[in-house]
């Protein structure tokens, strides 16, 4: 456990002890049942614990952190009344809930209780506020400035993926590392995400406007695949098993010089555990590189936020909203500043957040919030491994992807 997590844990625990009596009810009127479902990681633990302080005075709060919450949330919210009154989601998961019409518009609640919110925290669709975002994340470049220096390069020389390839070649030639590059390319969701990121860097659309018809089998698609393949040739041959845990351990073990990894992993890399001072001091973060002559970073921006269920009583919905607002309060952020890249007032960005901020600043696109995006993501994750192993051409891989997507989209009624 890294120090900041321990700190976050004790800080929230202490905060709970001090303020639970004073805060009981959080000004929620009458009796209400609040139950919150979400993923299982420290930043969300901090949010849920802060929300839990509203318990008491007729208000009960139940929380459930589950890694597989994604598989639970649709049935859990479909029952009547819903098992959970609030869920924390991300871009991709909100779409799943909206597809099933399970979240309630929050406009009136925001008007009544949302005074402290930034305008950018409101996620709206067609003017209806569907979610309140509170943290951001993106994959971006991690680089070792000490190693770049050894081959005569600086951060300015790794702004595009073409330059990254060049730098990797130099590092290899200098005999420093044989495989200096890593991306989270584990076959499945991770690889799909890399495809989406890279394709977004070309600036073209993945679907024909207004329809669910996919349009990736084109020159941009080929360029995307070729770049992924070239990068993989500088990655260790195991690259199709690389998930975030592996890449982080490789980074901390000093086996990498250039990597595209999640912004939420920066704090773990920078802390004093698992790595030598040499690696930690050389580690720096930059925006995700662009490629193919484009100017947008080849990455997608993610937010995490909360939604309120449709199938609960208005009183429970309001109570849940108030409790979650307490969960994402400025005090919570101050106590857990480094646990995430918060979108909340009072957050002081540190070095750990610099990569995500730079990626957003350079104009990266948000992860597409499309109802059929998940199907394409899944198809990419499943079909690209063959190409990266050198078993088939880029065109074949793209048409496989297209075929897999089309089959899935037909089953879901999109085509």
């Amino acid at each position: 456990m890294s120090k900041f997590k321990t700190f976050a844990f004790t800080a929230t625990a202490a905060a709970m002890l001090v303020s639970s009596a004073a805060n009981a009810g959080c000004g929620i009127n009458g009796n209400a049942n609040v139950s919150i479902l979400g993923n299982d990681f420290p930043a969300l633990h901090a949010v849920f614990s802060a929300a839990e302080q509203c318990a008491g005075d007729g208000v009960t709060i139940i929380k459930n952190h589950n890694k597989d919450f994604k598989n639970l949330m649709v049935p859990a919210l479909s029952s009547s009344p819903a098992e959970y009154s609030a869920v924390t989601v991300a871009n991709g998961t909100l779409v799943t809930l909206m597809n099933n019409d399970l979240v309630r518009p929050l406009n009136d609640l925001v008007e009544k209780h949302g005074a402290g919110l930034n305008k950018t925290q409101l996620v709206s669709v067609d003017g209806k506020i569907m979610a309140i975002a509170f943290m951001a994340n993106a994959q971006h470049l991690f680089y070792r400035s000490d190693i770049l220096e050894q081959v005569g390069l600086t951060a300015n020389d790794v702004q595009t993926y073409e330059q990254v390839l060049d730098a990797a070649q130099r590092i290899r030639d200098a005999g420093i590392m044989e495989y200096p590059v890593a991306l989270n390319t584990k076959a499945g969701w991770n690889l799909g995400e890399e495809f989406v990121n890279m394709y977004l860097g070309t600036g073209s659309n993945m679907f024909k406007a207004g329809t669910a018809e996919v349009s990736i089998n084109n020159a941009d698609g080929v360029a995307t695949l070729n770049m992924l393949k070239q990068l993989s040739s500088y990655s260790h041959p195991d690259f199709l098993t690389f998930d975030s845990n592996t890449t982080q351990a490789m980074w901390e073990g000093g086996k990498l010089a250039l990597a595209t990894m999640w912004g939420s992993r920066t704090a773990g890399v920078l802390d004093d555990e698992g790595s030598t001072p040499e690696v930690v001091n050389g580690t720096n973060f930059a925006a995700a590189p662009s490629f193919n002559g484009g100017s947008t970073p080849a990455s997608s921006l993610w937010w995490d936020g909360f939604v309120i269920s449709k199938n609960v009583s208005d009183a429970d919905a309001e109570a849940s909203f108030v409790a979650m607002m307490n969960g994402i309060s400025t005090e919570m952020v101050q106590a857990n500043n480094d646990a995430a890249t918060w979108l909340i007032n009072g957050y002081k960005p540190s070095k750990a957040a610099s990569g995500v901020a730079a990626t957003a600043m350079n104009g990266a696109s948000p992860y597409p919030m499309l109802p059929f995006m998940g199907a394409l993501h899944g198809a990419a994750g499943a079909e690209l491994a063959d190409f990266l192993q050198g078993n088939e051409s880029a065109e074949q891989a793209l048409s496989d992807m297209e075929a897999a997507y089309t089959t899935a989209a037909k089953e879901k009624g999109f085509l």
Binding site: D68, K70, T211, L370, H377, A404, K412
Partner: protein, 342 residues
Amino acid sequence: MPHRTFFWFILPSLAAMVLFIAFPIISVIIQSIHVEHEQVLISVENCGPFGCKQITAIDAEATALLKADQPLGQFSGLDNYTNRNHLAFKEVSKAWHSSESVGAFFSALLNLPFYKALLFTLSYTFVVTPFVIVLGLAIALGVNGLPKLAKGPTIFVSLLPMIVTPLIGSLILFWMIDGDGVIGATLKYLFDDPNLSLKASPTLTWIMLFVYGIWHSAPFSFIVFYAGLQTVPEDTLEAATIDGANRWQRIRYVVVPYMMPLVVFITLMQLMDNFRVFEPIVGFSSEASATSLSWIIYNDLTQDTQLFGSAGATSVLTIVGVAILLLPVLVRTWRDFNRKSH
């Protein structure tokens, strides 16, 4: 036993199975012959932390109307079974007609997810099952020959590979077999090949999964065989000894034939379990080189867009596959049954 008594004895067990297995199977079959109702798409503005954008979304009201009309979705017959992500009739026949050689046909076939998974599933089943039986029997014989005091601890250690394995597999073994881990580094040293990596080449990944499967399942057959060994009649063994049979001959001509029913039992269970292999694939992150039918189901159910119809179709195909595999064993059991009951 009269029907009535039989009924009351079996009722609780049957009720549990009907309620929690038979009903879900029926609902899965129904699901697998439907696709979702049509989704009405509209173009709307979406704003968030990273700016505003025109996106395509589902028109909830219009879609809800369609949904109310057809709560099960649109009937699609066997489409879910024959589409590209399953049996892929169209693609297979196209590959058959356009491929110049048998080899080209097979590589086109293995480019389809279902057949790729089927190949691994069958290979895994037919490699692991015999090894598990032989290894289990060997361990059982060995443990049986140990002094009494050593038996308990040995049984405990032998059971370990069966316990908490999905997690041990994903967490610890995965790191041990890494090129920089203890087993991986040892193999590199043994084969004198600094680039050897069990995770990189499909062939080695397959072998690794087979070895893991054998290691994981051997305790099951060990315990069952060990149970059987205790019942080998002493007098038959003694008679064989008096006739001059040595230890090996006694095993070969007395013990092994006596254990045949157990071999059938273990084969039955192992064929079934191995055909449903999926935990090691997830645990060892080998999705790129090896997928199985159960993994496809898992993948359909856990990705962002959950495909229930597709998962249902693959589940039914898995059951059919198991039934075909078990057919010889079932015919044998049927004969036994008839012999016993008459």
